[in-house]
């Protein structure tokens, strides 16, 4: 690291044609556009809910405006149904995220480190949940559980129009994203450390467990949060496969859709804000915990 920084310092005097400021400014402008877009969408939502908040107040009284935003986000919590939807969303997404990791880590490792016949086909199959419209996934799950095998499962563990079905629908989509992330993570890890571990007497499993997995912790964290976030936003398959029963299979995106589909914009935006606040809170906590872990773990900077 010290090398890479020292070198340009010396050569810069020779090659530098001007200041770095325009470049950094350009980065800021381009990036800023996107961030501005996201923030202005949120601001528009807030001012839709509480018209006292405008861009002006946001600039002059940012804290007050953020407080208004949080107020409008927690307002829907007065409803028992939405409290349940929030709880179900949080719990089902967390279960989905953990389950996705259980599948994504081995599968990502397999795809990254091994060659096997039909690997290309497996790759394509894993893309299906990503490219398919979510609604189709829901419909396919519904049809799957109408088959004799599906019915037999449904009898023992109710899936169709039940809470486990919510998790299955989320998992079907979210897991594909986690697998992709894990595969890229393992691809980017140098297999040498693993090979060294094996020459030092580790079995393949031991090398994976003791070396590769700790090395990939950031990837695991990213895959987990990506799956979680993906599951939180999922509603197409849930609506078809799990229904929209209040106090039962209604998750937050379902509430938004239901309110929107009957023209209740205020409620739809209110619940959306609730989702934003909840998602941001959870992602911040995970990132914080993740950075703590990677600090204490300190396998790789």
């Amino acid at each position: 690291m010290s090398l890479t920084r020292a070198e340009p310092h010396r050569t810069a005097t020779r090659h530098r044609l001007g200041s770095d400021v325009p470049f950094v400014l350009a980065l800021l402008v381009i990036g800023g556009f996107y961030i501005l877009l996201i923030l202005s969408m949120l601001l528009a939502d807030v001012s839709f809910l509480s018209p006292v908040v405008t861009a002006g107040t946001f600039l002059h009284q940012p804290l007050w405006s953020i407080r208004q935003m949080v107020f409008s986000a927690v307002a829907p919590l007065q409803s028992r149904e939405l409290r349940y939807a929030l709880k179900l969303s949080m719990i089902s997404c967390s279960i989905t995220a953990i389950l996705s990791l259980y599948v994504a880590v081995p599968l990502g490792y397999l795809l990254s480190r091994f060659q096997f016949p039909l690997k290309g086909l497996v790759d394509v199959v894993l893309d299906i949940p990503i490219v398919l419209p979510p609604l189709v996934i829901g419909l396919s799950l519904l049809i799957l559980f109408q088959t004799p095998i599906g019915r037999a499962i449904d009898k023992r563990l109710p899936m169709t129009y039940a809470v486990p079905g919510v998790i299955l629908a989320q998992f079907s989509v979210a897991c594909a994203f986690a697998v992709r992330t894990m595969r890229v993570t393992f691809d980017q890890l140098n297999p040498r450390t693993e090979q060294v571990a094996m020459t030092l007497g580790c079995s393949r499993f031991q090398a994976f467990w003791r070396v590769t997995l700790p090395e990939s912790r950031r990837g695991v964290l990213t895959a987990g949060t990506l799956a979680w976030a993906r599951a939180l936003g999922e509603f197409g398959p849930i609506l078809v496969f799990s229904g929209a029963t209040r106090m039962r299979t209604e998750v937050l995106p379902t509430s938004v859709f239901l309110e929107l589909s009957v023209g209740n914009l205020e409620a739809a935006v209110g619940v959306s804000m609730l989702m934003v606040v909840a998602a941001v809170a959870v992602l911040l906590i995970v990132r914080f915990a993740g950075s703590q872990a990677s600090l204490s773990g300190g396998v790789r900077p």
Binding site: S94, I143, Y161, G243, S261, G263
Partner: protein, 508 residues
């Protein structure tokens, strides 16, 4: 790097993730709310003629669920009167549906559960010592007869008009030695020999040893239907309805009725907490959701609702989905899945309107004005929703389809999306249902479309394969009730059913 390999946190994190997973699943599993079992006894007013089966069923129920059932016997009308007078009690088991109907009209009874039918006959002592073959034989000098009081018992109430019609009532009345309060008293009188014959139910003869039945053509068209009603006075309607469902379950109460010789209705299979699925067009949600929730609480059942565009719902049903009921946005969608449902009932009407922002800045007065240059118009997507198909049909009928389609900027799957877009200012006018505008009343105004075909009719029907047809029948009753009607009207729908129906469940 190698030094800290020994203290790899991976196993610990893995175990932690397993614990977290277990804990999350446990939270979900424990969350399944269990309805509180009340040990409060249920008071049932019973028609005396049905004593044998209901006593057995009540004992079974007590053993199975630990809830005591208190039975009170008497003539049907007497029992209804005491329910009214006391203002107490949970259920009323009537020997004929008519008592439950009149109880409903008086507001004493909510739900009704059909059970079985009975038929009047002439009862004589075994061996028929007086050789009674017809009603005319009852008029002979040496024959003493007994009847049940028409004002107290169902059998008297039902046979009196039949006897009057055949010209027997006035002849039999003076010869009737006693008018008893219940049909069982008539049976006892014959058995004891106080009288030689009497008019009772076919079931009474089967239950009383030592009696024999003689059929009479006068009673051919007379049948009573035993009906169980849930009293409005019940303090725990969910518990009362649960017992009523038990009594009328094909594999519980009805088995006992059948063993006792009754001709029973089909009945639903018994499930302690029934779960049903209702598919409904998205536009109906605001009008029906509250009714469904109220029904769930009263019946102690669970209704899974799937609200979506009707085109999508129909596709789901074609893919194998078999809901217990389907409430369609328009009859055209019901027609596509008509084999799956029984006798759809048309409940409400939704009218097509032009929706513009408040103040009508573009001065739209009719469909024709939607063709004015530069106007941004939104309509429903024809293939996906009833609204789109209906809009097209309407525009074609007035010959404006092509000119207006030039101005169409958006085709959306639901009318509410269109109204939302109008509210955000990206459209100047949309063609939608009047019910789509209720949530945006202050911001938009509507212009009626005066074309006869510009209406959608919403039918509801019970699934042919439903395991809970009777339950669904009661749900349809609830959807067709006055409260439901008010919710529909509040959402901008027109009500289609005539007077609030009495008991369509029985009819189905």
């Amino acid at each position: 790097m190698n030094r800290r390999g020994k203290f790899s946190p991976v196993p610990m994190l893995f175990i932690l993730s397993l614990i977290a997973l277990g804990a999350l699943i446990a939270i979900l599993a424990l969350d399944r709310r269990k309805p509180l079992a009340s040990k409060k006894p249920l008071l049932v007013y019973c028609a005396a003629g049905i004593k044998a089966p209901i006593e057995k069923i009540a004992r079974n129920y007590e053993n199975e669920f630990g809830i005591p059932i208190e039975l009170q016997f008497g003539g049907s009308n007497t029992q209804l009167a005491s329910a009214r007078a006391s203002g107490k009690g949970d259920l009323f088991l009537a020997a004929d549906e008519s008592y439950v109907k009149s109880g409903r009209q008086q507001g004493l009874i909510h739900e009704s559960f059909p059970i079985a039918s009975m038929h009047p006959i002439i009862a004589v002592r075994k061996g028929n010592p007086k050789n009674i073959q017809t009603l005319d034989d009852l008029l002979k000098e040496d024959i003493q007869i007994a009847q049940a009081n028409p004002d107290a018992a169902a059998i008297g109430k039902l046979t009196k008009p039949a006897l009057e019609k055949a010209g027997y009532w006035d002849k039999l009345k003076p010869r009737t030695r006693t008018f008893e309060m219940t049909v069982n008293d008539v049976g006892n009188a014959i058995k004891l020999g106080t009288v030689d014959a009497g008019i009772v139910w076919d079931i009474t003869v089967r239950q009383f040893e030592g009696l024999e039945a003689v059929q009479s053509p006068v009673f051919d068209s007379v049948n009573s239907s035993i009906t169980l009603g849930v009293l409005s006075s019940s303090t725990d309607p969910a518990a009362a309805i649960k017992f009523a469902r038990y009594v009328t379950a094909a594999d519980k109460g009805l088995v006992v009725f059948k063993k006792n010789g009754y001709t029973v209705v089909a009945g639903d299979r018994w499930t302690e907490f029934p779960e049903v699925r209702v598919l409904a067009g998205a536009m109906l949600r605001p009008a029906i959701d509250e009714t469904l929730t109220a029904f769930e609480q009263r019946e102690g059942c669970r209704i899974t609702r799937v609200y979506n565009g009707c085109g999508i719902l129909v596709a789901q049903m074609k893919a194998g989905e078999r809901p217990d009921a389907y409430f369609a946005c328009d009859t055209s969608f019901m027609r596509e899945v008509t084999d799956l449902f029984i006798d759809p009932a048309e409940v409400s009407i939704n009218h097509l309107v032009i929706v513009v922002p408040r103040g009508n800045p573009h001065h739209v007065a009719s469909l024709k004005d939607l063709g004015q240059p530069g106007l941004r118009v939104g309509v429903g997507r024809e293939k996906q929703c009833a609204l789109g198909a209906l809009t097209r049909k309407t525009l074609e009928q007035v010959g404006l389809h092509d000119s207006i389609m030039e101005n169409v900027k958006v085709q959306s799957p639901t009318g509410d999306f269109l109204v939302n877009q109008l509210r955000t200012g990206s459209l100047d006018a949309v063609v939608a249902y009047v019910s789509n505008t209720t949530s945006a009343k202050g911001e938009v105004q509507t212009i009626p479309v005066d074309v006869p075909c510009a209406t959608a009719i919403q039918p509801v029907a019970i699934g042919r394969e439903s395991q809970h047809k009777f339950l669904m029948g009661r749900l349809l009753d609830a959807l067709e009730s006055r409260q439901s009607r008010e919710r529909f009207v509040a959402q901008g729908f027109d009500w289609m059913l005539g007077a609030p129906p009495q008991s369509s469940a029985n009819a189905r």
